[in-house]
């Protein structure tokens, strides 16, 4: 028996904010000489697409700070309280919030999801796409990056049964 620690993650959400944790944790685990597997299911599947088009929705995240990525320090620190009636109805609000979050991440030296994803692959993290969800939502293998495995609940559980850390994200 090898004493290599194993991390098992289920990635079930594909928005920009929820897309980060699986790749951050899996790449770091691999960098710490652990084995890591991410099982992508339901809304997590689009994270395997060649071009990730993940957005963030302030309307669905009431605790999300709304801060500007530009201006002086005082201006940047203002937390804009946007009523849900605006954030939920104004066309393009999510795109604007997504642009602001991406810009802030860039300024803070945070990697993009694509960067973290490719580092995962470089470090040997296994990606498993949920075959059932692909059928249901109409995803084709051609839409996904190379190196993805395909399977179902049993495929994930076979690995997770021996995992030291199991996370549902």
């Amino acid at each position: 028996m090898s004493d290599t620690k194993k991390l098992a993650i289920i990635a079930s959400q594909g928005t920009l904010d929820w897309g980060y944790p699986p790749f951050i944790l899996a790449s770091t685990a691999a960098a710490m000489d652990m084995e890591a597997v991410i099982f992508f299911t339901f809304y997590g599947l689009p994270l395997l697409k060649k071009e990730i088009d993940a957005k963030v929705s302030p309307h669905s995240n009431p605790a999300m700070p709304m801060k500007m990525p530009f201006g002086n320090k005082d201006f940047k620190s203002i937390n804009w309280q946007i009523p849900n009636v605006i954030s939920g109805n104004m066309p393009g609000f999510d795109s604007m919030a997504t642009m602001m979050m991406k810009e802030t991440f860039k300024q803070k030296g945070v990697a993009t999801i694509e960067q973290l994803r490719s580092m995962c692959q470089e470090f040997g993290v296994r990606f498993i796409a949920c075959q059932m969800t692909m059928e249901v939502f109409g995803f084709e293998k051609e839409e996904f990056i190379d190196g993805v495995e395909y399977g179902g609940a049993a495929t994930f559980l076979e690995y997770a049964a021996d995992a030291d850390i199991s996370l549902f994200i």
């Binding site: 951050i24 790449s27 770091t28 960098a31 652990m34 945070v110 990697a111």
Partner: protein, 78 residues
């Protein structure tokens, strides 16, 4: 710590979690056992993260200094 000799230097200044760890891992992989990697970072979280990373991987942080917001780590490959 300028007297400390390193086999490779890695600049992670301006990068945030988990990039310093990931880049350190890549750099360490390219070195030989016993080699020293000098890594600089400005992420305040890198202090605890480097310690945890070293504890799990077995590589050793032989020195850590702080100058302003810049942390310098000397890491010896196991």
């Amino acid at each position: 710590m300028s007297e400390m000799v390193s086999n490779m230097e890695l600049n992670c200044e301006g990068l945030n979690c988990p990039l310093p760890i990931l880049k350190t891992k890549k750099a360490i992989d390219s070195l030989n056992s016993g080699d020293i990697l000098k890594m600089t970072a400005t992420d305040p979280g890198s202090v605890n993260d480097m310690a945890s990373w070293a504890k799990r991987t077995g590589h050793e942080v032989v020195a850590h200094t702080e100058e302003g917001s810049v942390h310098t780590f000397f890491i010896k490959k196991k």
